[in-house]
């Protein structure tokens, strides 16, 4: 009995060591990739330059004296992210850029401003109509929170890719990376609004769509579910990825 116990212990020890080793190797893999992969296109900045901190909250918290950014030169932020340090949000910026057509960013910014205004109006109206305190407490009145939650709800977990094997094309479900998830979610929301009637202004259509997405309804959510259904039906090919 004692012998068997010790072997079990030994096994556990080796297992933990192996685990540690794999973790270490992963750590290094990141490191090595960073150094050995050369960028194809050149940046105007010397590689020593690091990204700026736009977020005011992070700045107020203060940096560790040994933080790399204390010792490195900092890149200058582009014009459109140096807007207001209080309202800087990378997600909203991404959405704005995705909606932009032919570089007309000013127009899209106007649409976004009105979109948040619309969302706010819709929620405040509901809030005022609500009778009891508990109902009022449930209504989210911050349009940025609604926007973010709406996009979050549209993010697909799985996507299908086309894999050709033996001359036959299979639709293979794969995990969606975070960037791709965000891209799909935003794309679906924008596309579903562009499909709608042309006479209604974009900000109104977007406000409805995002409100729907916030409540897990609407066209974009249906597209997500459609993709999930395709993935489910093709789950037999998942090993081909």
């Amino acid at each position: 009995m004692a012998a068997s116990l010790s072997t079990v212990k030994g096994l556990c020890a080796t297992a933990s060591k192996v685990l540690a080793a794999t973790q270490c190797s992963n750590l290094f893999a990141d490191h090595i990739a960073k150094i050995s992969v050369q960028p194809v296109r050149q940046s105007m900045y010397n590689p020593k330059y690091v990204e700026p901190i736009i977020d005011k909250a992070t700045l107020e918290k203060g940096l560790d004296p040994d933080d790399l950014r204390r010792h490195r030169p900092i890149k200058a932020p582009t014009t459109d992210i140096s807007i207001s340090p209080l309202f800087y949000d990378p997600e909203i910026l991404k959405f704005t850029n995705m909606m932009m057509k032919a570089g007309n960013k000013e127009r899209v910014r106007e649409v976004m401003r009105k979109l948040f205004e619309n969302l706010k109006h819709m929620q405040v109206e509901k809030y005022n109509k609500a009778t009891s305190e508990s109902e009022k407490a449930e209504i989210e009145c911050n349009p940025v929170v609604i926007f973010k939650q709406g996009v979050e709800n549209c993010k697909p977990l799985l996507l299908v890719t086309r894999v050709v094997k033996g001359g036959v094309a299979y639709r293979v479900p794969v995990c969606a990376r975070p960037n791709e998830q965000r891209f799909r979610a935003m794309k679906w929301i924008i596309e579903s609004c562009r499909d709608k009637e042309r006479r209604i202004p974009m900000e109104q259509k977007l406000a409805w769509e995002i409100m729907d997405a916030y409540n897990n309804q609407g066209k974009a959510i249906r597209r997500k579910q459609e993709i999930h259904r395709i993935c489910e039906s093709n789950r037999a090919f998942a090993h081909l990825r």
């Binding site: 700026p52 901190i53 700045l59 200058a76 932020p77 140096s82 340090p85 910014r109």
Partner: protein
């Protein structure tokens, strides 16, 4: 012979063949000694070789006293010739340099005996002014030992056997370094295992007390590594070295190898200490102000920031509506909102009206940030720097390429 192992047989054959082939290169040890002294003598006191040739003279003497013939390998002979030629050349160059320096001093009307290298540089710049951008392409006069690349001393003895065990890798110093790193890594791993058994989750006090960090320094440059090793290290090998060193430095017990790691790192100054802060001046009305200038693309701006103020902004004689787009107005005020000075300072900006609004706004933003640093304390100045407000944006339009429609866009590809 049949009882010999294959390896012995092989080496025997080799040595036999060498005897035969090297018969012509048999020299008497006296000649050799003279030869060797020639090299040692010409090496001079400014010998910048990493390793002196180590065939010790005592060995040579022993053989000399016994009067036996000594063979010098062909490689060694070739090296001796090369070393002698190089030393002669260097001697001639140094003599030329010394004479040239005296001539130059006379031309400049200064004392030739106390004419230093700095004086030489100044004289050359004065006599032969050059507008060439590349500094190394400009005329120069330097000590030949600074101009000609350093050469390694003989890497093998009189018998032709290399001293270094990694000689046949062709860059022994480089591979020895890699070997060192690998073994240091192994040591750390062993140490980690030992500590894990010993301490069992107790905090490492030694680690807490050591202030090992990579933030305050950076890896030595490619050129520096080459100079250190006196070897040509290709770009790829340099990156390999970096990978290994990064790996070593990322180890939790890396602080134990601090000394070793530090030899391959160069310290960098804290960025906040390198900032230039404009002076606060006072104008005729008694208001204090600071002046700074900024650039973006082809646009330059000069800005005066007055404190105390009421938030008034004047750009080329107009107010903030100089920019029709909200983004530009907001980006101008970004440094103010970061420092909490909105409504407390007045801004007066002069900007060239060439270039688009983005360039103009960017130039003013940079100038405002620089001027504002005069009125704020150290920590807020650092915040401004961390937000990238004090950096000049180097990005400009990318040039159009021949054979392409634009900078990156290609022509439509047609088969025929």
């Amino acid at each position: 012979m049949a009882s010999l192992s294959p390896w012995t047989r092989y080496s025997l054959c080799r040595s036999l063949r060498y005897c035969r082939s090297s018969a012509s290169s048999v020299l008497f040890s006296r000649d050799l000694l003279r030869n060797q002294n020639g090299i040692a003598g010409s090496g001079s006191s400014r010998d910048n070789c990493t390793e002196a040739p180590s065939p010790s003279s005592s060995d040579g003497k022993q053989k000399a006293s016994s009067g036996k013939a000594v063979t010098i390998s062909r490689a060694m002979r070739a090296y001796m010739e090369r070393a002698k030629a190089h030393d002669d050349m260097m001697k001639a160059e140094v003599a030329d340099y010394e004479i040239g320096k005296r001539h130059l001093a006379n031309i400049m009307g200064e004392d030739p005996d106390s004419f230093t290298q700095d004086d030489v540089n100044r004289a050359i710049e004065y006599l032969l002014p050059s507008g060439l951008f590349e500094k190394r392409a400009r005329p120069m006069m330097k000590d030949p030992y600074e101009i000609f690349p350093k050469k390694k001393a003989a890497q093998f003895g009189l018998d032709g056997r290399p001293y270094h065990w990694l000689y046949f890798t062709t860059s022994p110093n480089y591979y020895a370094l890699l070997y060192d790193i690998a073994w240091k890594m192994e040591d750390l791993k062993a140490e980690e295992d030992r500590l894990a058994e010993e301490k069992d989750g107790k905090p490492d006090r030694e680690k807490e007390s050591s202030d090992f960090t990579l933030a305050r320094s950076e890896w030595i440059t490619h050129q520096r590594l080459k100079d250190l090793l006196v070897e040509n290290v290709p770009e790829k090998e340099y990156r390999h070295f970096l990978v290994l060193m990064e790996r070593l430095a990322a180890h939790p017990l890396a602080y134990k190898m601090e000394e070793f790691i530090a030899t391959y790192r160069e310290p960098i100054a804290m960025q906040s200490q390198t900032l230039e802060v404009p002076q606060i001046e006072v104008d005729s009305d008694g208001r204090s102000f600071a002046t700074a200038s900024g650039k973006r693309k082809k646009c330059a701006a000069t800005v005066r920031v007055f404190k105390p103020g009421s938030g008034k902004v004047v750009i080329n004689g107009e107010d903030l509506q100089y920019f029709s787009n909200f983004v530009y107005r907001e980006s101008l005020l970004f440094p103010l909102s970061l420092t909490g000075l909105v409504g407390e300072v007045d801004i007066e900006a002069e900007v060239q009206a060439q270039g688009g609004p983005t360039a103009q706004a960017g130039a003013i933003r940079l100038a405002v940030s620089r001027a504002v640093t005069a009125f704020v304390d150290e920590s807020i100045r650092e915040d401004l720097r961390l937000a990238g407000m004090l950096t000049e944006d180097p990005r400009t339009k990318e040039r159009k390429k021949p054979g392409q429609e634009k900078a990156r866009k290609k022509f439509t590809w047609k088969k025929r």
